[in-house]
Symmetry: C2
Subunit: 369 residues, 2 copies
Amino acid sequence: MIIQTIDYRKGAVKIIDQTLLPDEERIVRLTDVKEAAEAITCLRVRGAPAIGIAAAYAMLLAVEQLLKERLIGGPRYFFDRLDGARPVDAAGIGEIEIRETLVAARELISTTRPTAVNLFWALERMSSVAESAAPGPAALCARVAREAFAIHAEELEKEYAIGMNGARFVRSGMNILTHCNAGGLATAGYGTALGVIYTAVEGGAKIHVYVDETRPLLQGGRLTTWELKKRGIPHTLLCDGAAASLFSAGRIDAVIVGADRIAANGDTANKVGTFGLAVLCERFDRPLYVAAPWSTFDLGIPSGKAIPIEDRSADEVTSIAGKRIAPDGTAAYNPAFDVTPADMIAAIVTERCVIERPNLLKIKELTTA
Amino acid sequence: MIIQTIDYRKGAVKIIDQTLLPDEERIVRLTDVKEAAEAITCLRVRGAPAIGIAAAYAMLLAVEQLLKERLIGGPRYFFDRLDGARPVDAAGIGEIEIRETLVAARELISTTRPTAVNLFWALERMSSVAESAAPGPAALCARVAREAFAIHAEELEKEYAIGMNGARFVRSGMNILTHCNAGGLATAGYGTALGVIYTAVEGGAKIHVYVDETRPLLQGGRLTTWELKKRGIPHTLLCDGAAASLFSAGRIDAVIVGADRIAANGDTANKVGTFGLAVLCERFDRPLYVAAPWSTFDLGIPSGKAIPIEDRSADEVTSIAGKRIAPDGTAAYNPAFDVTPADMIAAIVTERCVIERPNLLKIKELTTA
């Protein structure tokens, strides 16, 4: 079972609007690149892998829009993931015009989440295949479509592989704590940290998941609980500050989280609050697992100290669900991420391999292998 | 400067309605014992010392009500804190009737916050002086009034003493983290943990206070920020999960918190989230100070393991400010308190003394001295 967080069907990008969850499960069709850009900016689509796919699909949507405008009387739509990259009769349109459309789309989408590594990775991949496509507008369109669908399919495959690689750490009877949402909603539809849990459960493990609500944006309370409920996996929500007392009572066996960026030495940036869980794991001798695609490694960054941390708006702290909760003018400390040193991580689980007790040397060997 | 959280003026209990803070600073006059009981139940008054004072004043209010009902044409009000315990001409009322009123009031108030130690301590103190009062209705009324005003005055004196005893730990230039609200709003008007900070600042120390928002009920975000703003003390709000990254960046020099109950060996129950800060203090070699009146010791409880922890409603976690944030039916772990072992506490600061590195022996010596 996967959650169809994002898809490209019948000439439109389809997403679950995550800003409405868990109250409402609304599927939104995005029919032009501006709408797609807005959906990324406003976190209707969120989570590193999902943003990458959304960016690729937004580029394809720009081409779709151009074809629709120019080929009046043509087909109702040009691209659909289930059809794959069928040839498109784009004879009436110049190749240069398509390239210009792609450049403009890339520019617009780049502004949506300027610190999202996957966004730029996907845009670069789309631009690069466009540049090297066989001559002619039809070939260019087909190449762009093929790449967008490939990005989506590859991401999903990676998630299944991460799940298989990580499930070895999950035994029946375990109580597992997770933070934020590293599930199907954040990805191609299966998940990274939650993917590990899903694979274990699909393999018959009976586990209980404790879910940090993850202030300020409550991805745990809103999204992870929603996914676990949909899958019928027993779970309990808690405020972030209550995790320590669960550890103290011996009620947590392991912590599994995703990652936003991993440095060359294994230091891991993830949603703020993760490092506090790492400190608890250390004190109570419990393993902390990080599950993330290999592409999360940023090998140009030597250690966690060099990972840039996005400081987000004070409003996210001083308001909840639109209601102000602190006095006017209250200053807030609101980093998006914190950094967990590699030596506090039991294993980094990727689609390629599991790196137990990660360090610079182990990661270097795997990169050059 | 104190915050007049609670007072007894001109025949009524006056409180700041804390459920409306920080949006609105509304002073509410409670004119009968039912209103006073409702105010305690609904957390319009909260914080262990403030609840104790409110309970005593609610008992006095019951007597005031009886006098008003029976002595038609008598004075507009009978008791006022600023007048002290003036003699009351209660000749027209039987002593038994006054005693019955006090018993009924005690019964009603007992149901408001059944786990609040200070509530029962204050009720017991009021009942006890009523029993041993000199004969005659006038003497009984005066004795009850004197005791209620004494409880209030003594609490405030204790807070000043706690502040003086704790201020030695606060040096200019320090960044201090606090959790929940242990300030004037929770007490007779000055505070315990915040009282230490206030005394230091009044003595000229320039400090910066980091404030955990303290989910689920956000006492830090709503109340502590409000107090600090009123006093002009520089402060920054953060989500509870972000504290670890502040420690990691070397931006916290000490943590000061209040306490709800302290066992005979120094193990301390305080608002959930405190223990997680203790773990961070341990890892980053920073001191954790607990500031609380001596009455917070529950010497009948040998250690933290025996402190009963109130499990509160899941709704506090699954909703914020009346808005549901988790899917319907989501289970939640919502303990009101957690327990910090004595060996993780640098010092317990009371009005009587400072107990550095508290343990059973030190506390026993102080109790029997």
